[in-house]
């Protein structure tokens, strides 16, 4: 019988003092998953991951085993395993803490992925701002090399595996896997055209898999305990456990581990419940790109299928909780300005849509909205959603369409009263975007009088 509720599986070592050190890690079953993997064939490892039903933890939820099985291993080209550690989705902070606390678990997972995909080179693409996680990983990788877990002879198996830590330069878009690959190659980080997919033409044109930190770190547990163990939690379509980043107006925001299928309300309770005197108004189930759900949906079991049925997405597992004191227009404006800032600029709908949407929302929140703006917002979202090059554009529309769906009257009040009814922001016009200041310096020389 499937279990739900809090779990201590992949966070079991969070309580172990100094587990980022290899010796401590080894005392706590460290590299046992890798040991098991070394006795298996690549296909057996992939089969195991498939059987576990593990779904990608980076946002899209694509089955990890299936993703691995698509990687072309027989082209004669090298295969690369890339770990997406560019954790940038607003509300998401699970990977950072995991890498800070238990970096060897990620390294172990990377080596296992390398064995499964017959790859001898892995990369961890780390969000540049994660300085501490970067140091932890750097030290852990060095230790793993020194002690023969990485390098020419992984655990005396005669097999080679190299792991490179690459730090990003601060662009949300580089969490999109093909933009990540471009950035890793030293190019401007913008998403690539697909097909061809990374499974056949990824890093440096070679077959590549890109997996989230949590997905990779889960794999050694599968090796140690098996697929059935993993499936004791969650549902048929959403098996296993999941790191949850609970933030917002709760008593104890932070990372938690739950079995998938645990109701959102129970998760909020586990985080200490709502702040004193606050009442749940809405929540964002899986990061800023996932549409808000109203308080009435708090009973939803946290699974891919159930959340989708309610009109949102599981995303990265970043549960953001808002009370009735929060102005939803203001919250939406913040997200929209984030997307406006992080749009890579490659495609028109996302670039121009973000620019336009945030100006309109800014006007509404600051008391300068017009009645027709609400329909205009929806029209713009319509023209962004499904038209943009990558999912960033889709994500941009989520808070707007969801808030207009569930809380349209809040918008109408802003317009009718000519101010934020909750008094969150005073009425001030937005600064015009004059970008002369950001001129690329190259023009200064060639300037004509």
């Amino acid at each position: 019988m499937a279990q739900f509720g809090p779990v201590r599986a992949m966070t079991a070592r969070y309580d172990v003092e100094g587990v980022h050190d290899l010796d401590v890690y080894l005392e706590h079953d460290g590299y046992e998953g890798l040991r098991a993997a070394l006795d298996m064939t690549p296909d057996q490892i992939i089969e195991l991951v498939k059987d576990s039903g593990l779904r990608g933890r980076g946002g899209a939820g694509f089955p990890t085993g299936m993703k691995w099985s698509f990687v072309a291993r027989d082209t004669g080209k090298p295969v690369y395993v890339v770990c997406n550690a560019d954790e940038g989705e607003p509300g998401t902070f699970k990977d950072r803490e995991y890498m800070e606390r238990d970096p060897h678990a990620l390294i172990e997972g990377m080596i296992v992925a390398g064995l499964a995909l017959e790859s001898v080179q892995g990369y961890i693409y780390l969000r540049g701002e994660f300085a501490f996680a970067g140091r932890r990983l750097r030290d852990a990788i060095r230790q793993a090399y020194d002690r023969g877990y990485l390098g020419e002879d992984v655990m005396g198996s005669g097999k080679r595996y190299d792991l490179t830590l690459h730090r990003g330069a601060g662009a949300y878009i580089c969490g999109e896997e093909t933009a990540l690959l471009d950035s890793l190659e030293g190019r401007r980080g913008q998403p690539r055209l697909r097909p061809p997919f990374p499974a056949t033409h990824g890093l440096f044109g070679c077959p590549t898999t890109v997996n989230n930190v949590e997905s990779i770190a889960t794999v050694p547990f599968l090796l140690r305990h098996g697929a059935a163990w993993f499936r004791q939690w969650g549902t048929e379509k959403s098996p296993g456990f999941k790191l949850m980043c609970i933030s917002g107006e709760v008593q104890r925001p932070g990372n938690y581990e739950f079995a998938l299928g645990t109701p959102v309300s129970e998760m909020i309770e586990a985080a200490g419940g709502m702040l004193e005197g606050r009442e749940l108004s809405f929540f964002c189930p899986g990061g800023s790109s996932t549409p808000y759900l109203p308080a009435s949906d708090a009973d939803v079991p946290y699974t891919f299928e159930d959340i989708q049925e309610r009109g949102s997405l599981l995303g990265t597992g970043a549960l953001m909780v808002y009370s009735t004191q929060t102005c939803i227009v203001d919250a939406t404006l913040r997200f929209t300005e984030f997307y406006e800032h992080e749009s890579c600029g490659k495609c028109t709908p996302c670039r121009e849509g973000g620019y336009w949407l945030s100006q309109i929302l800014h006007r509404i929140e600051h008391g300068l909205g017009r009645e027709e703006d609400l329909q205009l917002l929806l029209d713009i979202c319509d023209n962004v959603f499904g038209r943009s090059f990558c999912a960033l554009g889709d994500g941009m529309t989520s808070p707007i369409t969801a808030s207009l769906k569930h809380f349209r009257e809040d918008y109408e009040q802003h317009v009718a009263q000519g101010r934020c009814p909750k008094g969150v922001t005073p009425p001030t016009p937005r600064e015009p975007v004059l970008s002369v200041a950001t001129d690329a310096a190259g023009f200064q020389k060639g300037e004509r009088p």
Partner: protein
């Protein structure tokens, strides 16, 4: 093997296309133009602008026609039949316009702007955008000739993709992100490209505009005519647009087999000479030491009097040298005039001193199927000898680069310097200047070429590498530049025969191939015929009448004899010998000595200073004609502008001179002239390659061997007044090998002196691995005193001394 096909339906119409075809291309074939901005058939798909939204049955989301490949049984609905597609396109257009300044009335693109057209066709009359538009300073200069207005930019990335994919000078890039994404250049690497004008032409809005065309004209009030560029042998077709009889701009004209949709900046912007102060607009005669305006009658009489007087003294006292801009018809007319009217064979179309045996090798080229652009594009291996394509024939450079980029063609430069091929050369056969022949001989001998012996003591490690590259490939191409040394063409020809490769002779100058075909060299007759071959002579005599019996002199002999005083009349047609002859020293002596120098040219130049008669001519844009490019492809061009009142076509002048000398060349219009050219046609049959001259003995002479060829943008007179263009010219330099630099104590950037003891050039040193040790490269015509002044009157090889004049500032 037959190509795989797929059949799909677009707007209810079925179409079958090769697998891999993009929906946008398939739709075009049905006449359905899906609106687009970023899509360009010659650039990789990017899917950035999202304008070409179509509906594909079974797809959850709308699809982009420019990135979606056709599949079997696909059902596509464009904006013509799908509301979803039409609405999607309207939405994207609205996005593109929110930040657009809508300054069409003062935008150079107005009237030919896809954004303007689409806004007119599908856009809303009123904008729903009431917020602040993005503002930029406008315009900023990307280079001296390219201006950028970022407010108008739709960020389609056509320009940056062109730079990256086609021209390979990616100093124009997208910077910043989101709504602030913008086209920009690197701070320390200004946009320098010989192909930059193309980004203006492919810009779908008025973001990139031309400094020289700024505020000049509207596309609807210019006169447009197709033309062919005569500034090199590439044969680019172009569009000439004029207003009030003056050229406003020139554009690349799409011609897929030749220049695709591109041209180089020289071809695009290099038309100002036609209206410069230096333009010769009336005939001129030297009177009292000055050139003064004269009537045509006076000028032509002066020519015929001088010719008659010289011929009266005996044979061999009149010689003719032609240059690069002659149309095929001119070349033919001059060829016939010299042989049948002047009764001479002393003529040359080359500015180089022809190496021994070149005549026979060029004659052997006739009648063979030589390489074309298409062959280059498909070639698995390209061997290039004596050629720096980007500097000499830029569009050929783009095609070689395309072969490299598309299918990793192995590019093998042979010679002392790879030049523009260095970034993508696969393997290099480095040789000393002149050593190219031995490399080709060794290669040919190893490949089993007929009558080709390996040179003694040749280190064949490199050669074996090339043979490995050639192993099992078909369709290799060998390109031999005009400056390849004696024997190179014949050796390359034998090698090509042995390995089944296609060969091409790639002259740099525009009319060179046409001149060869017309027989504008001593001993050479039209259609690849030879004066010394009885059958060939008979063919030509049947049309022309009696011909001289003995082969005449080439340029070197002509100039040498002229300098010695045995030539009285030198008739120069479109050639600036004072700057362009291989030895400026010899040309100077000859021009000073010859009694009557007749210059038939467009502009006053260094050579006209010696002229006694100057005859004004029409430029290519001012007349009708035909030009043959390096492939041997003939392309007609028509008159775009009328030109100054008194100028005449070169062939017309020759016809009049002939008449005044008592002979009728047989035609008074182009049709009749062309008719005779066709009647004579090419020679039947193919000649064998001539024997190779003996390998040059190694010389113990002191000094460094001079390698020189012109940069694309130099002091050439056709670039007069093209100020914006000339500002982008590469600065002259002396390239030398690090070993030589170390030996001579020269550091990169030092000002050095290059000299032969009498003449000295001072130029910055460029220490590079590209040039072989023992040689220096100096651009031919980029300095006040051309480097040809260092070439001995006997011709090459020139040896020069190099020494430091002023060390570079440390840290500069």
């Amino acid at each position: 093997m037959s190509e795989q096909k797929v059949t799909l339906t677009i707007d209810g119409e079925e179409i079958t296309v090769p697998k891999g075809t993009l929906v946008i291309r398939a739709a075009e074939q049905l006449g359905v133009i899906v609106p687009r901005f970023c899509d360009h058939p010659l650039l990789d798909p990017i899917g950035a602008c999202r304008q070409c939204i179509v509906e594909v049955e079974g797809q959850r989301k709308p699809m982009m026609a420019c990135t979606t490949t056709c599949t079997d049984e696909m059902v596509v609905k464009t904006h013509l039949t799908s509301q979803l597609a039409a609405d999607g396109q309207a939405g994207t257009l609205e996005f593109l316009l929110i930040n657009h300044p809508l300054d069409c009335p003062m935008c150079d693109k107005g009237g030919e702007c896809p954004l303007q057209d689409q806004a007119l066709n599908h856009g809303n009359n009123e904008s729903r955008f009431v917020d602040e538009k993005r503002r930029y300073q406008k315009p900023v200069a990307v280079s001296e000739q390219i201006l950028l207005d970022r407010e108008r930019c739709v960020l389609c990335a056509r320009c940056t993709r062109f730079s990256n994919e086609i021209s390979g000078d990616p100093f124009i890039e997208l910077f910043e992100r989101g709504a602030l994404e913008q086209v920009a250049i690197y701070e320390d690497e200004p946009y320098a490209s010989y192909f930059s004008g193309n980004v203006i032409q492919i810009c779908p809005v008025g973001a990139l505009t031309s400094a020289s065309y700024r505020f000049k004209a509207r596309p609807f009030d210019v006169r447009t005519a197709p033309s062919v560029c005569d500034l090199c042998s590439a044969g680019c077709t172009q569009t000439v647009q004029s207003r009030h009889g003056e050229i406003q701009r020139q554009l690349a004209r799409t011609n897929m087999p030749v220049n695709e949709a591109w041209n180089c900046d020289k071809g695009r912007f290099g038309f100002k000479a036609l209206t410069s102060e230096a333009r010769v607009t009336t005939p001129k005669l030297r009177r009292g030491g000055e050139l003064v305006d004269a009537s045509w009658a006076e000028a032509l009489t002066a020519v015929t009097s001088a010719v008659t007087a010289a011929n009266g003294k005996g044979a061999g006292r009149v010689a003719v040298v032609t240059g690069s801009r002659l149309a095929d018809e001119d070349a033919y007319a001059v060829s016939k005039y010299v042989r049948t009217v002047l009764r001479s064979d002393d003529l040359d179309f080359r500015t180089r001193f022809a190496p021994a045996g070149e005549r026979a090798a060029l004659a052997a080229l006739a009648g063979r199927e030589t390489a074309s652009y298409a062959d280059v594009e498909q070639a698995p291996v390209i061997i290039a000898v004596g050629l720096d394509p980007e500097e000499e024939v830029p569009i050929l450079h783009l095609r070689i680069r395309k072969a490299w980029r598309n299918h990793s063609a192995k590019i093998v430069p042979v010679g002392p310097r790879m030049g523009s091929m260095a970034p993508f050369a696969y393997r290099r056969l480095a040789t000393a200047p002149g050593g190219e022949v031995d490399a080709l001989r060794a290669l040919g001998a190893a490949a089993g070429a007929r009558d080709l012996d390996a040179p003694e003591g040749y280190d064949d490690a490199q050669v074996r590498g090339v043979l490995d590259d050639l192993d099992g490939v078909t369709g290799a191409v060998i390109l031999v530049g005009e400056r390849a040394p004696a024997g190179a063409l014949a050796a390359a020809g034998r090698l090509a025969d042995a390995i089944g490769a296609k060969l091409a002779w790639v002259p740099r100058r525009g009319g060179a191939r046409g001149a060869l075909d017309a027989g504008l060299a001593a001993g050479t007759l039209p259609g690849g015929r030879s004066l010394e071959d009885a059958g060939d002579r008979a063919d030509v005599e049947a049309v022309w009448g009696e011909l001289p019996t003995v082969a005449g002199r080439d340029l070197h002999a002509i100039l040498t004899d002229a300098a010695a005083g045995t030539i009285d009349v030198l008739h120069l047609i479109g050639v600036d010998l004072a700057r362009d002859a291989e030895s400026a020293a010899l040309a100077e002596k000859a021009l000073a000595k010859v009694g009557t120098v007749i210059v038939q040219d467009l502009v006053v130049n260094a050579t006209t200073e010696h002229a006694d008669v100057v005859l004004p001519v029409t430029a290519t844009q001012e007349r009708h004609g035909t030009l043959t490019n390096w492939e041997g492809r003939r392309q007609r061009f028509s008159q775009a502008i009328s030109g100054p009142e008194l100028v005449q076509d070169d062939w017309e002048i020759v016809v009049q001179l002939a008449a005044m000398l008592g002979q009728d060349l047989g035609w008074n219009d182009l049709e009749a002239l062309r008719g005779e050219m066709t009647r004579l046609g090419p020679r039947d049959g193919v000649r064998d390659w001539p024997a190779l001259p003996a390998s040059a003995e190694a010389s113990d002479d002191e000094g460094m061997l001079l390698v020189t060829y012109p940069l694309l943008l130099d002091r050439g007179t056709m670039l007069l007044d093209a100020d914006d263009l000339n500002a982008t010219a590469r600065s002259p330099f002396v390239a030398l090998h690090p070993d030589d630099a170390a030996r001579l104590g020269i550091a990169d950037g030092d000002l050095v002196e290059v000299g032969d003891g009498t003449t000295t050039l001072r130029l910055p040193a460029r220490v590079e691995d590209d040039i072989v040790a023992g040689a220096v490269y100096v651009p031919t015509n980029s300095t006040d005193t051309p480097v040809t002044a260092l070439v001995p009157v006997a011709g090459g090889p020139a040896r020069v001394a190099v020494s430091v004049s002023e060390p570079a500032e440390v840290g500069a």
